[in-house]
Symmetry: C2
Subunit: 342 residues, 2 copies
């Protein structure tokens, strides 16, 4: 199957190295407003953030008309890029508290409780910084995009939380969830960057569509990897979404081709209830069995085909833009996203 050329992420990021460094510095510049021990913990939280994909999208989209690599960036573009990443990091920090709340059992230590309060506040501080950076763009439309997206993300999380462990769901809800969770912020990053760059409205919409579709593909790929990845690369056991009660695209395809889907769902419900009552043996073994069977099933390939379809849409959105190192990197990001699944 693996006939794609391999994309190196370093090469994709090359045109925006300097910009990313500015974003990084801006995000970590909190020393003045937080006293030392907290500032340290805060920078640690930001530092463990990962791929910086969202600021990458903003920086690339803002420069699609730039003639050469590393064209100097306007400060409001850097502010936007820092804003979207800070917003993303804030939601991750709160997710940990929310997930921890669901999974952790037994009485927490007082120290852990203090940390929980501090973690909630650290997330809020990041929301505040994100709003501050968005305000720095000084562009009312960009600020509205920011506020809209924040609402979409949180609304989606509320829906996801309330839909957890409801094992009879339709697939439609999945697309709404991954739009809210991931694609909305990707789309916001590219749309807002295009607005700040002063592009024509049709180009703004094209770049928004690019971000949206790339985001949908990215989340589907993430959801595939949650089943197919090794414990080591995932940093957690495979199948953790399903174990936490969240159903994703590969599982929907798995159910679709399963000869006894209804019985399987009944079995899941029963063993989940038993786990709730303290006996999680059956639940854990059922999840492991599903992970094994799903990996060997056509569900993975079916989900990947959907990701590819979203990526085709993303690539098509770029057709009207001039060839440039930035546009090339946007195209290569599409290849990069899906190659992680092979």
């Amino acid at each position: 199957m693996n006939t794609k050329t391999t994309v190196e992420i370093g090469k994709v990021l090359q045109p925006i190295q300097a910009g990313l460094a500015q974003v990084e510095a801006k995000m970590k510049n909190v020393e003045s407003s937080l006293f030392a021990p907290l500032a340290h913990a805060f920078v640690d939280l930001i530092g463990s953030g990962g791929k910086r994909l969202r600021p990458t999208l903003a920086l690339l989209a803002a420069q699609v008309y730039a003639e050469q690599s590393d064209t100097p960036l306007f400060p409001h573009i850097v502010a936007l890029a820092a804003s979207v990443e800070m917003l993303h990091t804030a939601t991750l920090v709160h997710d940990d508290v929310i997930d921890g709340a669901l999974l952790r059992r037994g009485a927490p230590t007082l120290n852990a409780q203090w940390n929980r309060g501090a973690t909630i506040l650290a997330g809020n501080f990041m929301f505040a910084r994100a709003a501050y950076f968005a305000a720095e763009t000084n562009n009312p439309r960009v600020i509205r995009i920011f506020a809209d997206t924040l609402e979409t993300i949180v609304n989606g999380e509320l829906h996801q939380l309330s839909a957890r462990h409801e094992f009879r769901q339709d697939k439609e809800g999945y697309y709404q969830r991954i739009y809210a969770k991931t694609a909305s912020l990707f789309a916001a990053a590219t749309e807002a960057a295009a607005v700040l760059a002063g592009l024509r409205e049709s180009e703004v919409q094209s770049l928004r569509a690019y971000g949206h579709n790339l985001g949908m593909a990215f989340q589907i790929v993430d959801d595939i990897l949650d089943f197919t990845g090794s414990d080591a690369t995932l940093g957690k056991p495979a199948g953790s979404d399903l174990r936490g009660g969240t159903m994703t695209l590969p599982f929907f395809y798995f159910l679709q081709s399963h000869p006894q889907a209804e019985q399987l769902i009944d079995q899941m419900q029963a063993s989940y209830l038993a786990a709730e009552d303290g006996d999680s043996l059956q639940w854990e073994s059922l999840i492991s069995q599903i992970v094994r069977e799903l990996r060997a099933s056509p569900a993975v390939e079916a989900a990947r085909r959907e990701a590819e379809a979203f990526l085709d849409l993303a690539r098509a959105s770029l057709l009207g833009l001039p060839a440039s190192p930035y546009q090339r990197s946007l195209l290569e990001l599409c290849d990069f996203v899906v190659q992680r699944t092979y």
Copy 2:
């Protein structure tokens, strides 16, 4: 002592009744974006919000040049007023989770854990709505004020959380805390309203100073009431700030006039540590004793004099503004704030 004329809050609010109703409706208009059960819980959370003092400040400040009561409001003023109240409510919702995290002992039920996650997200949803409403004002300066204030509030909460149960503190930190906690948002409400109303910069600054000083007085009064109020009016036992490890102005004055302040602090530290280890009898009885002694001490009157001094500054800030029902209400709010302590 009680020689003041009594102010009726209904009379203070009379000029802005219609405006407050618009703010209320705007805050509760979430049906479309949240599915029914959550929308219901959300509106309940907002509904239990209380005095609506912050939107009151915004509406009054925005209309200081209006000729008569109930002058029609511009939508962006209503958006601002809804934004400050939503931001306030969001912080209250998160405070409950953070306080609960510190105080609750033993293993929480899974149901309580789900509620914790949902509560964090409900607070985030309110932050998002607040940001959205701020963006609706379409005024970059107002949006910057919003983002600045959010950061100040969260930063102050982080400091307060980390200073808890440090019984040797200087009074200076107290003023920073109550500015961050309360006065910053009061000041933001009046400043932003003045900006939206198109007032001269000197008037914007005067109204900001009014909000700031009123907010400082309001929080000092709240901190007095935490010691002097009855369990019934407070809805919790008197002395709960101190019991939770937060030191407020009346306690600083109490310590100042205490013949054996150092020994008392040592005693507090020891009994707090014992309470940490599970034996809270000594700690509870010490707090009860301090509450009794403090009520009978000059500390209450000393703290009230400080609140009065802030209120004098607030009143003085209004001197340059024309007489109107709105300006009169702003003046009467000063009387209202302190009369709660008699």
